[in-house]
């Protein structure tokens, strides 16, 4: 068995930033394990720009952003394995890896989970109809078009208005396809407002809110879909059904943190985020195993992934130096108007704690309040809030000292 101080599972945005930050903290013996042939994760295929505005005050494309971190990994001689798949993790932090050379076991002092997320598919949302070729998730389409030079179709309907779907709408238009429409089940868009502007409105692609795809037609290839209006109760308005001829249906209907390995290690998951339950350092319910990036919670901005990964490195460093001392266990309660709150507990109070959360629905002129019983600890006002935009607020350890319970709510 090979011993390592820190093993990072996943060489995407979160894993790279976490590994670099751990080295910055003075940890020497780090290994990144990546299942693909290159580091960079999903950023490799996100060739559009807009990455890095918070961290670097500059708008980079995905591959440029990834390369900044890959260069740091190379310069610091951080070890990594490519084309290598982790097939098991135990709660004793033993990792089993397979690659072309065979099977190896590693014993880590600490593990950082950075496996990212995957897309919800047609099966997850249960669209009726035939099963022809021509139905893709937006990320798979992005991979085929941007990395493999493979065009996916000509007449395209997109279901779901997540950011990847919007980005792909623009990309497909520029690559010569015709994006006929974007359908969204909710009464508001799921992606960032700026993407509706620069990806749909710039190309005159219509957006239909409160709409669903209720049928797919075609034998070998998609020939048409049936769109329909959905009322407030979520029922399909049958009189509104309309057949739309197309050869491709793209799905951008949400992302799911990829936690099969976490479950193997016996880590408790939060049904609200789909990711592990964590403390203020992103430490899961198995001590010494940490999580960051999309495996923990689905992010909308890569800079927040990098910041989250950098933050957990200080917890990892303290853990392997046996400096993590339980101080004051604070349970976190999710109040009105919020979909989830991270972390689910705070217990060390050694550094500042950054809380991240999403609101349930878009709104204007709102406040986020952190309170202990009826005492307000922190208050922040927002001109508008949107579920598409994760909110991050930092509380200092002195603001959190002497309390046992903290409620976060939107008012």
């Amino acid at each position: 068995m090979i011993k390592k101080d820190v093993i990072v599972i996943g060489g995407g945005a979160a894993g790279l930033a976490a590994a670099v930050a751990c080295r910055e903290k003075g940890i020497e013996d780090i290994l990144i394990i990546e299942r693909e042939s290159d580091l960079g994760g999903i950023l490799k295929q996100c060739i559009h720009d807009g990455f890095g505005l918070i961290k670097f005050q500059h708008s980079y494309t995905g591959p440029e952003y990834a390369q900044k971190y890959i260069d740091q990994v190379e310069e610091r001689h951080i070890e990594y394995l490519l084309d290598s798949m982790v097939i098991d993790i135990t709660n004793k932090k033993i990792i089993t890896v397979v690659n072309k050379k065979g099977l190896k076991k590693y014993q880590a002092k600490s593990i950082i989970l950075a496996m990212g997320c995957r897309e919800r598919t047609r099966g997850a949302i249960g669209i009726p109809g035939t099963r022809p070729a021509g139905i893709y998730t937006a990320g798979v389409a992005q991979n085929l078009i941007n990395l493999h030079n493979y065009m996916i179709g000509k007449e395209i309907v997109i279901l779901g208005s997540g950011d990847i779907g919007l980005i792909m709408a623009r990309r497909l238009m520029l690559e010569g396809a015709n994006v006929k429409m974007v359908l969204e089940l909710l009464p508001y868009g799921s992606g960032l407002p700026r993407n509706f502007n620069q990806c749909l409105f710039d190309y005159d692609i219509p957006l239909y809110l409160n709409h669903a795809v209720i049928d797919i037609k075609g034998n070998k290839r998609v020939e048409a879909i049936t769109m329909a209006k959905v009322d407030r109760q979520g029922e399909v308005v049958l009189s509104s059904c309309k057949e739309v001829p197309c050869d491709t249906l793209l799905l951008s209907v949400g992302l799911i943190p990829e936690n099969e390995l976490s479950k193997m290690a016996g880590i408790e998951l939060d049904p609200l985020t789909g990711g592990p339950m964590v403390d203020e350092y992103g430490q899961t319910t198995v001590s010494g195993i940490f999580a960051c990036g999309n495996v923990l919670q689905v992010h909308d901005i890569v800079d927040n992934v990098s910041l989250e990964a950098e933050h957990i490195a200080s917890g990892v460093e303290k853990y392997i130096s046996s400096l993590l001392k339980l101080k004051n266990y604070i349970s976190i309660e999710i109040g009105e108007g919020l979909r989830y709150v991270l972390p689910q507990r705070v217990q060390y109070l050694a550094d500042d704690t950054t809380f991240s959360f999403r609101v349930k629905k878009p709104d204007n002129k709102k406040q986020i309040i952190f309170k202990n019983n009826n005492r307000i600890i922190k208050k922040r006002s927002f001109i508008r809030v949107n579920p598409a935009e994760m909110i991050r607020i930092k509380l200092t350890s002195s603001e959190l000292s002497d309390i046992k319970h903290l409620k976060v709510e939107l008012t």
Binding site: S37, T61, L147, E175, Q198
Partner: protein, 122 residues
Amino acid sequence: MKKEFICIVCPNSCSISVDYDKQEIKHIKGAQCKKGEGFVKNEIKNPLRIFTGSVKCINGNYQLASVKTNKPIPKKYMKQVAQKTHELFLEAPVEIGQVIIPGIFGLDADLVITKKIKKISI
């Protein structure tokens, strides 16, 4: 004329309301930073966008090298630039920042590589 703009400069996506006459702004509010006002000025006069896309690349570890314009270009050129990227061929290796077409279509922007492609030996 009153109009609402959604700023695309950063993820804040500010909604900026503007009252303007032809190209002259009379009243503007909603931008959380100066860049937002600049964005709206351009949107009224000559909307600008960064183009991103890809170009075929032979002998590399990927078949495509991603590209962008290193400065925003007038929106009306987006499809033309995309068409141009379809006609190009590169040979690996290529590096980030490498200029493929300087001053594309006579604009004040170069088409540059955004992804490192390694040469593979066959």
